[in-house]
């Protein structure tokens, strides 16, 4: 076997096995390629497709050559599976193999291979023998087991047969027994029938006396039941004289019974359930339902009207009116409870009346219900101005909850809908009330601010700062809004019975609270602020600028943060989708109308006089050229850059535009010598005081420089003032 593998040439063969190397070279010479051929170039042709299988098949060879697995893997050239000289291959041809050996191998190698093969054949033989011995015992024991199983199954089969015959015998016996008993069974049944009939007859004969006894005892229900049971039979056997007599007796008693019942019903004092019982019995006695129905409702009406009257009395001015919760409680237990009982009894009693009866009841309920609602609304209207939402909501909840039962009983009367409507109306009115409250609070805040601003300042004592006022206003408005939201939120609380109505889930939250209350309030705030801005117009008005400033800041805060905060708050509380109406915002942020004294807070920690550069152009004659050259090097001042909404930026913008305007005005004038000097002094003074208000004082410098330069240019006789004099003048002031 080994020499066969030597047909794969590989220079990587270890040199310690010279015969292998020789074999390899011989093979290489036979195949033809030059000795320099690359490792892996297999003379046998292309590599096989299944290296995995080949590796396994040649495991033994590898073992023989002492090649490690890795080394073998690194030598991809393996014998072709179709190679007839491959001992382990499927297509092994001994003739070809021998021929090849004989041709290719030297004698020594042939000898070696022969001994090797003999040794291997022996090994294989002994292996086979061991395998046969080992497995023989297992075959024997398997045969024994199978034989045993065969015996056991035969026994089981016998048992099963016996079971089947026994079952057949049992069935046979059972059939015979039932046949024997059949006769007696029929006779017993007949006897039982006769017995029942006799008992019935006995009942009939005893009926008149029983009825009389029942009526005497007042057990009307029992009497009516007996009568009902006997009625049909007596009717049927009318032609038999004995039965006839019984029937007549019964009819007399029944008539008396009916009369008594009617009496009791008319007296009516005994309450709705008993009345209902009377009516039920009367109906069972075959009294005309129509009439009973009318009478029943009339009685109910009397009772309910009494309830309404007592409610109305509670409304009235004379006795101190109970609070709204108590009122709805009374209404709920008295009127609504009564109505419920009536409706339930009526529906039970007069179910046979069909749609006409139901319609009558619905009309009845509608009429009384509307009177009740009118009373409730009157009471609620008294509540409208009041402050306590929780009591109102609880009262509404009671009211609504109590009406659910009659609403379900009497869907046609529309009580529940009407109740919901009332609740909705009240909710809407509450929203309006809160909006008014918020507006009033806002206006109150503004009035306070105005007063604070207008209050004469006590010397030495600083009045409340604008920032403080603003904070006060903002916090007070916010707390008002929060209080309103909390109050209104009670309407949507989960335990409140009407909170799951579609109105309270959707419209109340989105339209009512969000749009109507919150956005409406913000709008009215904007309008108020706008009207403050508009009213003075160009002619100047009463609105103090500080108030405008405060409002502008307030609006700005609202625009940037507060509105979104409030709306988010509302949305969170009222389960509205955020973003549905989010573009809503402050439409106009008023530009601030500021005055310097507002910012007296701005303390000047920096030492003044630090800035005292001279404003005097060194060579006035060349100012034009100079300024042009200066401009080349200085950055262009963007006077009109956009303004951010903060104090410094706004002030910087105002100062820039003011100085620009000053510049334009200076350029339109012609100055005398002293005019120029005045401008010099003015600009220096401005410089001393303006820097603290701007973001970049360089801007002020440049613009003031330009003003002075322009003034010098506009002066035919430019004799500037000495810088030291300018300073002295400014510091004296």
């Amino acid at each position: 076997m080994a020499p066969g593998s030597a047909s794969s040439p590989s220079p990587s063969f270890p040199a310690s096995r010279p015969w292998a190397a020789v074999g390899a070279m011989a093979a290489a010479a036979a195949a033809g390629p030059s000795p320099g051929s690359r490792p892996g170039d297999s003379p046998e042709g292309p590599e096989g497709e299944a290296p995995e299988r080949r590796r396994k098949a040649h495991g033994m060879l590898k073992l023989y050559y002492g090649l490690s697995e890795g080394e073998a893997a690194g030598r991809p050239a393996g014998p072709d599976p179709l190679d007839p000289t491959d001992l382990n291959g499927a297509h092994f041809d001994p003739e070809v193999y021998l021929d090849k050996l004989r041709r290719e191998c030297p004698l020594a190698q042939l000898m070696d291979s022969e001994t090797d093969m003999v040794r291997q054949i022996r090994a294989l033989d002994s292996d086979m023998q061991t395998l046969v011995y080992e497995n023989y015992n297992k075959f024997i024991s398997a045969t024994d087991t199978i034989r045993k199983m065969k015996n056991d199954f035969r026994k089981m089969e016998d048992e099963m047969d016996r079971l089947a015959t026994n079952m057949a015998v049992i069935t046979d016996f059972s059939a015979r027994i039932s046949a024997t008993l059949q006769d007696r069974h029929e006779r017993i049944t007949k006897l039982a029938g006769v017995h029942a009939l006799l008992r019935k007859l006995q009942f009939l004969f005893e009926l008149p006396s029983r009825l009389t006894k029942c009526v005497e005892l007042g057990a009307y229900g029992q009497a009516v039941r007996y009568q009902g049971r006997a009625q049909a039979v007596l009717q049927q056997y009318q032609h038999l004289p004995s039965f006839r007599a019984i029937q007549d007796d019964c009819q007399v008693i029944t008539a008396r019974l009916a009369q008594q019942l009617r009496q009791r019903f008319r007296e009516g004092g005994s309450g709705a359930p008993e009345q209902a019982e009377c009516v039920e019995l009367l109906l069972a006695l075959g009294e005309p339902a129509e009439e009973l129905c009318e009478e029943f409702l009339a009685h109910a009406r009397g009772r309910l009207e009494e309830e309404l009257r007592s409610l109305e009395a509670e409304l009235g001015p004379s006795p101190p009116a109970p609070d709204v919760l108590e009122f709805t409680d009374h209404g709920g237990s008295g009127f609504v409870g009564g109505l419920c009982q009536v409706a339930a009894a009526y529906q039970e009693l007069f179910a046979a009346q069909g749609p006409a009866g139901a319609e009558r009841l619905a009309a009845f309920a509608r009429e009384l219900g509307s009177r009740y609602f009118a009373l409730v609304e009157r009471r609620l209207a008294q509540e409208q101005g009041g402050g306590d939402n929780s009591l109102l909501v609880r009262a509404l909840d009671r009211f609504h909850r109590r009406l659910r039962a009659p609403g379900a009983l009497l869907a046609a009367a529309g009580l529940a809908e009407a109740a919901t409507e009332i609740v909705e109306r009240v909710a809407r009115e509450r929203l309006g009330h809160h909006l008014q409250g918020l507006r009033a609070a806002f206006l109150g805040c503004l009035t306070d601010v105005r007063q604070a601003l207008a209050a004469p300042r006590v010397a030495g004592k600083e009045g409340p700062g604008l920032a403080e006022l603003l904070a006060n206003v903002a916090s007070s408005i916010l707390s008002h809004i929060k209080a309103s939201l909390a109050a209104v939120h009670l309407f949507t609380a989960k335990e409140v019975s009407f909170s799951n109505k579609p109105y309270f889930r959707g419209e109340f939250c989105s339209q009512g609270v969000r749009e109507g209350l919150i956005v409406g309030f913000i709008r009215s705030m904007c309008q108020t602020a706008q009207s403050f801005c508009d009213s003075p117009g160009e002619k100047g008005g009463a609105t103090p600028p500080a108030l405008l400033l405060l409002l502008s800041r307030l609006c700005l805060d609202y625009e940037t943060a507060t509105i979104s905060y409030i709306l988010t708050l509302t949305d969170e509380q009222f389960l509205v989708q955020v973003g549905l109406l989010y573009e809503e915002g402050v439409r106009k942020a008023q530009s601030s109308d500021s005055s310097k004294r507002t910012f007296s807070v701005y303390s000047s920690s920096r030492q003044q006089g630090r800035y005292a550069p001279s404003y005097t152009p060194s060579a006035p004659m060349d100012t034009n050229l100079l300024s042009n050259i200066q401009k080349l090097f200085s950055e262009r001042i963007d006077v009109f850059s956009p303004v951010e909404f903060n104090k410094v930026s706004v002030l910087t913008g105002i100062i820039k535009i003011s100085l620009k305007t000053l510049l334009e005005c200076v350029r339109l004038r012609t100055f005398g010598r002293f005019g120029l000097q005045q401008v010099q002094v003015d600009c220096h003074f401005l410089q001393l005081y303006l820097w603290r208000f701007v973001a970049d004082e360089e801007l002020v410098h440049l613009l003031l420089d330009e003003v002075v330069a322009s003034a010098a240019l506009r002066c035919p006789d430019p004799v500037p003032m000495e810088p030291s004099v300018v300073e002295v003048i400014c510091e004296r002031g």
Binding site: E538, M621, N624, L625, S627, N628, K631, R636, V639, F640, I657, K660, E664, R667, T670, G672, L713, R714, C715, P716
Partner: protein, 386 residues
């Protein structure tokens, strides 16, 4: 192709600019300087459009610093200036009509560079003088006439002059004045090219007024036309009732003088006082404004122009196809927009004007003496023309 922008420096402060109105072939602007210390000059700027060459001639204007300049519509050599005269620490603004040397009328192109030494002087024709009225704000020529009628605005007076004996004598033909409280002062005025040149519009404070020059009576009045001072106005050359105004409220407003309560349109593009507004002489959708925010803005006011649907072909010579096309064109909504904002100036722009010869060319002048000549963007030009 040449760049669309050309810069020139006069190296002296200046606020007065006018095209040479009577010149219809060459592009020529007159710039008056404003200096208290030096002799003032009028620069005649010639722009050779084809070669992109600028030629400058200088005329001495020794009377004083020039605040306003306007050229005669009939005679290329005649112009009027408003200038300051200082005497005994008092400043007077006067107006005069001048004639420039003959050889400069059409811009002598072999101008020597040492212009200062050979600077020529203007010939004084006449003073628009009236001892009663000082502080001439501006002088405007009758736009279509023979250059014999001129209006000057002095304080609260509007004065109509007749120039006689080849302009050597100015006779006050008629005048009117503003009555009312306070110091009323005209700031600007324009002569309407419509109605046989019988209308003049003036601006004082925040009010615009129209005058009939025949009777010197007021014909309309737009009170509070702007929130602040009105700086300038101009008539639409093609729509007789339309005029534009601008002012210190940073706005440009367009008016129909038949309805003075509301502006037809308002532009708010500038961020500081708007000093000048000018309609293009041929294509009245092009409106030029200059402002002390150092910007010049060219706007396209198509919707209120005489060609609101673009340039339409005459009905007479359109074939069916063209008819179809023009219909299509007219359906396109044309939007008013800002065509361009020119930021070449570094100081306040006090004067802008269109060339009288080339409708696609305009000049702007800033206080530092920088004159910028710009062209209307080519794309827009072709859009308007084609």
């Amino acid at each position: 192709c040449f760049p669309d922008t050309v810069l020139i420096y006069t190296l002296s402060t200046a606020r007065a600019l006018t095209p040479q109105t009577a010149e219809t072939d060459a592009i020529r602007f007159l710039v008056g300087t404003q200096s208290l210390k030096y002799d003032n000059q009028i620069h005649i700027i010639d722009f050779d459009d084809e070669n992109n060459i600028i030629n400058k001639n200088v005329l001495l204007h020794q009377a004083g610093e020039i605040w306003h300049i306007s050229a005669s519509p009939a005679d290329r050599g005649v112009l009027a200036t408003c200038y300051n005269r200082t005497s005994d620490s008092k400043v007077l603004t006067c107006a005069a009509v001048w004639r420039m040397p003959k050889e400069l009328e059409s811009g002598s192109h072999e101008s020597p560079d040492d212009s200062s030494s050979t600077a020529q002087t203007l010939e004084l024709l006449c003073h628009l003088d009236n001892t009663a009225h000082s502080n001439m704000a501006c002088v405007v020529w009758e736009p279509m006439g023979d250059g014999k009628k001129i209006i000057s605005l002095a304080d609260n007076h509007i004065l109509l002059w007749d120039l006689q004996e080849s302009s050597s004598q100015a006779v006050l033909a008629s005048s009117a004045s503003l009555g009312g409280k306070g110091q009323l002062k005209f700031t600007s005025g324009r002569w309407s090219p419509h109605h046989n040149c019988t209308q003049v519009a003036t601006a004082n404070d925040t009010t615009l007024r129209g005058w009939d020059t025949r009777s010197m009576s007021q014909i309309y009045c737009i009170e509070n036309a702007h929130g602040q001072l009105v700086r300038d106005l101009d008539f639409n050359p093609n729509k007789q009732y339309y005029l534009a105004s601008c002012g210190d409220d940073c706005k440009v407003k367009f008016w129909d003088t038949r309805n003075v309560t509301e502006p037809v349109k308002t532009l708010e593009e500038h961020s500081h006082w708007v000093w000048n507004v000018r309609y293009n002489h041929s294509h009245d959708q092009l409106v030029l404004t200059g402002s002390s925010d150092s910007r010049v803005i060219l706007s396209n006011m198509v919707s209120i122009s005489s060609e609101p649907f673009g340039h339409l072909v005459d009905d007479d010579d359109i074939s069916d196809q063209e008819d179809h096309r023009s219909e299509e064109k007219s359906k396109e909504p044309l939007q008013d927009n800002v065509i361009a904002t020119y930021e070449e100036h570094e100081d306040s722009v006090y004067a802008v004007d269109w060339s009288s010869a080339d409708p696609w060319l305009f000049a702007s002048l800033s206080y530092d003496g920088r004159l910028v000549i710009n062209r209307v963007p080519r794309a827009l030009k072709y859009h308007i023309l084609l």
